[in-house]
Symmetry: C2
Subunit: 649 residues, 2 copies
């Protein structure tokens, strides 16, 4: 894909964007404010810019007069970048010239990091859990009448240097006929021991040479969705991926209502059955997408939160939701996939990620394993942000974790116009510090109908940095603009006027919304602080941040640091690993090294119940400010705020 | 039980017998001949003896005149020994006086040997495969909210020094509720690893303290019968034993017809189902006899021949009966008893004895393990004699085995009046060297209706030693007695006249019968010789003999050496271990040491297919003589024969 460079004047900011980007998003990316209320639908006509050099596709509109069009005016939200440009932001929406000297915080989301097989191989971490070996056996005769299994085992030793082999009964049952079907030319599938020196299991024998076809499935069992990947075990490549809603949703939206259902007679069995149904559905899709045979899948690894895991394994989760919140187990032994109802060959063993506690589950452990944070020296903060946020801090020497009840703010819950990240949600925002006019960018470039979690963070951070709200999240009552007002006693900022929205109402951000966000981010930040303090460290010791989960890929890192959700580290030290549960499951499917290490990780991990950790409440109260009571924890922000203060004076 | 001593005159032989023995059996035991045709029913009146001192119970008969009775005459077969006696054998049935100087061969069956637990413990061979541990756990609270399984495992480590524990999924499912049912006071059942250093499995958790109730089942799956024992794992004691016919009999009498049936559609499943039915029946009887709970059984070990084993495990045995006779496997992994249909707890693992080849099966391996022959220095010959006789030779350094097709002679098959060892079968025999009159003793002391395998060996040996038949098994045509005659061209000896039998015909032993026995014993002896020769040894290197199977307990050792079935060793070097399959299964249930060793034993064992071993046919031809072409292999017999020859001259 080609790229184009754009110079924004008078800011004199240069940025490179991919072909096809809208000009308004390019401006946002460059940290250049352009008034825009309608989210990018071309309705408000406020995002007028002048193309001084080069040409854009589109951008003309009835909102622009013929004369203006001839002068080079275009609507930024409707202009598609197709070449290098010089773009001037007109005076009417340009910020106070002095603001140009401010250090802007560039849009910056976390680097996406996926481990690759070659790297693992180089590091000696690649121990294939399942391998196929082809054998041409001599046919038996009266002078050589070894038992069939003994023959197979002997020649695996002789030809492939395979020692210490165990054969399971279902395979023994097949071997006599398979050997003869294949004229004693067969492929044996070996499942490797987790610990070297232990025995390998012959789990499958097929006629002929099938060594080039060996696949695994990785599954993330989420409360809402189930995702699966099909992995080629020879190359480590993901051949297909598919997700679907967890059919358990019909029996309750969240884990608590699922547990309640599981306690009813037959409820556990029902929930197990339907989640396996979903798993089978996504496996089926993957198999069809990749065009492989179902029986060519040799292994499956699954990860999910503690409740999802217990439901899958038909372990009643009743004690998870009752104080003192006890899960059944940490580690689960490998188990025949078929015995769980998973529609794969008899020979396929299901690996289940271990849980740490009732609210730090296998999905998080999978993230630890998949991200490799347990192998590094750097003190790393791992976060999966959602209603229930999980935090893990540590490195190769120690690990501590906790679950924080952050509330639903990050998913748009408890926010007056909050919504999930869907079409029409404001996902990016800027404000003109002089006029206090907004620049809204919505998902899908349509008129706004709400704001999503990542947008909320950007708004609150921006309003705070521009001094529109103070460190307690209260609007500066002295600012003169119709956008800041009081409705039924609640102060609010009008993001978009009624006619610019899809909802036929003014779209606002209230102080209550801001307060909710502050509580949510405070719960998480203070959780991390508490863990660190318990191990004798402080927030400044964090060297690296790993974000997991859907939310993590969208969050603007600098803004998240401005509101005090994330501690202040260099953005290149923040990585995003996407669906950590799926990643960890994939890694387990690819290398036994993960399975070796995971036992050690669960042993090493110290779980904190924050509600039972006395210092947590103090940290939480201190975190109910923007960014924090103690601003020295955010030195770069402090510097910027002081610079602004100076400018204003 | 009290014992009495009897002095036989004029032989001057003293013997001690238990109270209640018949006098005729006492005489037989002492090697004193008393004429007796009717098997001990008091019908022929020939077994007249004079009680010179002491008194017997019974023994009077219409066959004895009042005068004779007053002189002390009694019928030996009807006289019950109730005190010390001096008994004179009257002149009319006394042998030529010179014979008295002959060395007689006392009746002598093999010593019955059963290993005991204390001995195993002393030898450090006792490693209990399943143990119970009682635990009083602290109840969880908000400050101590370990997962339930982690709590259990931690306190097993803390209180019982149990490390490296694995918990299976079905147990994980139970633990949360069981812990709470037992108020966190529970008993955990641990299955020990076969090899130390491996992991123990927590296979069961029960509320309360059940450590004193821990049992195992041992099963012998015979083609005809299934026997099971219930063993107390704390004491090693057998609490109950029960046997029943293998219900597979309805689908074929022998292994070949079972295999044929198994090849039919649904046949394998049917045979598996019915043998498990029989196993469940005998387990049920054992449990009721011992008065224990079914769920208190923690393990089960099973042994059977190769076909029985494959049928139990639902492995099609089709290649067992087809050249080159290939069984599916040697070793079988432990498997959940329930998955085979065995009606025991979910937690019970079934241990299956490994097979060596299609015709040397798990029953024989069980014998090797149960007898401990694989641990000794002595070169030992292990024999299970039947239609298919299995031979194992070796010691702790090497082991060789073979199956011999002996034919059914030892079970009475192919013998004109042969029968199984049941009421009316002649089981013991002697002959008056002068008159050639027989002394028949039948099972049940009733009129004879046939002869059983052990009786046949005694007859042929006795007839040979007394010169009635020659080393080729042919009758001495010159002997003058109506008992030796030719019928339809076949020479025969009349054991009992028509009116003395239950069968209304003369009961005879023919030269064809003798030939069949010689073939049978020749097959076995030459099998042993072949194995020895293949390892560079000879028959004289055998230091010890172990007999297994029903036949072994009845066979007269000296007579078996006279006919050349057994090599000549001191009788105290011959031991009988009964049902070797059951013994081995019991030993496996008692100590993991057996399970450790059995893998080594199967690896060490060299299996010979005698039909494919060129030297076998030569050895076989040489063995078709009494005792053998090469009599120097039987030095004691040679000496006795030479002494007799001298006497006759």
């Amino acid at each position: 894909m080609s790229e184009h460079s754009i110079l924004f004047l008078p800011h004199n900011k240069k940025i490179t964007v991919p072909d096809g980007e809208t000009l308004i998003r390019a401006a946002m990316e460059a940290g250049v404010h352009v008034n825009a209320s309608c989210g990018g639908e071309g309705l408000c006509g406020k995002c007028r810019v002048i193309i001084e050099d080069g040409a854009v596709e589109g951008g003309v509109s009835e909102k622009l007069s013929k004369a203006d069009q001839e002068k080079g005016y275009r609507l930024a939200c409707r202009s598609i970048v197709r070449g290098n440009l010089t773009v001037r932001i007109p005076v009417e929406s340009e910020v106070d010239a002095s603001v140009l000297n401010l250090k802007s915080t560039p849009r910056c989301t976390a680097r996406i990091v996926e481990p690759n097989l070659d790297e693992l191989k180089e590091q000696g971490l690649f121990i294939p859990p399942v391998e196929k070996k082809y054998l041409e056996l001599p046919e038996p005769n009266v002078h050589d009448n070894l038992p069939d299994v003994t023959r197979l085992v002997s020649f695996l030793k002789l030809n492939h240097d395979e020692h210490r082999l165990v054969v399971r009964l279902p395979v023994i049952r097949e071997i006599p006929d398979v050997l003869r079907q294949g004229n004693f030319k067969v492929t044996a599938t070996l499942a490797r021991p987790v610990h070297s020196g232990r025995k390998s299991h012959i789990i499958h024998v097929e006629p002929g040479d099938t060594t080039d076809r060996n696949y695994a499935i990785a599954v993330d069992i989420g409360t809402t969705t189930v995702y699966a990947q099909l992995i080629d075990l020879k190359t480590g490549k993901v051949l297909a991926q598919h997700g679907d809603f967890n059919a358990q949703i019909s029996y309750g939206e969240d884990v608590i209502s699922r547990i309640v259902y599981a306690e009813k007679p037959g409820g556990l069995e029902k929930l197990q059955e339907v989640v396996v149904g979903t798993i089978n559905k996504v496996i089926g899709k993957n198999i069809r997408k990749a065009g492989i045979g179902r029986n060519e899948v040799s292994s499956i690894a699954l990860a999910g939160n503690t409740t999802m895991t217990q439901l899958l394994l038909k372990i009643n989760p009743r004690y998870i939701r009752r104080a003192p919140y006890i899960p059944a187990s940490t580690l689960y032994p490998p188990i025949g996939a078929k015995s769980l109802g998973i529609d794969l060959g008899d020979h396929v063993t299901a690996l289940i990620y271990p849980a740490i506690s009732s609210y730090v589950g296998g999905d998080i452990v999978a993230g630890i394993m998949g991200s490799g944070m347990y192998r590094t020296n750097e003190i790393t903060l791992f976060m999966d942000i959602g209603t229930n946020a999980e935090i893990v801090i540590g490195n190769k020497d120690w690990l501590a974790c906790a679950a924080c009840s952050a509330g639903p703010a990050f998913e748009g819950g408890g926010i007056q116009f909050g919504m999930r990240a869907a079409k029409g949600a404001i996902e990016d925002f800027s404000i003109d510090p002089a006029t206090l006019e907004p620049m809204n960018i919505t998902i899908g470039n349509v008129r706004p109908k709400g704001l999503c979690g990542s947008g909320l963070i950007i708004m609150v951070a921006t309003l705070f940095e521009t001094g529109v709200i103070d460190s307690q999240g209260k609007f500066n009552r002295e600012l003169k603009t119709p956008r800041i007002r009081q409705t039924e006693g609640i102060w609010e900022y009008v993001l978009a006027w009624k006619e610019e929205t899809q909802i036929d109402r003014d779209l606002v951000l209230t102080e209550i919304d801001i307060e909710n966000l502050i509580r949510a981010k405070g719960a998480i930040y203070s959780g991390a602080q508490t863990l660190l303090e318990e191990v004798g460290m402080g927030i400044q010791d964090i060297e690296r941040i790993i974000l997991a989960g859907g939310f993590g890929s969208y969050v603007d890192l600098e803004k998240a640091m401005v509101i005090g959700l994330l501690p202040e580290v260099a953005p290149d030290k923040v990585t995003f690993i996407g669906n950590s549960s799926l990643l960890g499951a994939k890694m387990s499917a690819l290398t036994n090294r993960i399975r070796q290490d995971v036992v050690e990780v669960t042993r090493k991990m110290t779980n904190f119940e924050l509600s039972e950790t006395p210092s947590y409440m103090d940290h939480y109260i201190a975190a109910l400010f923007l960014p924090h009571t103690n601003i020295t924890q955010f030195p770069k922000l402090k510097e910027r705020l002081e610079a602004r203060k100076k400018l204003r004076k």
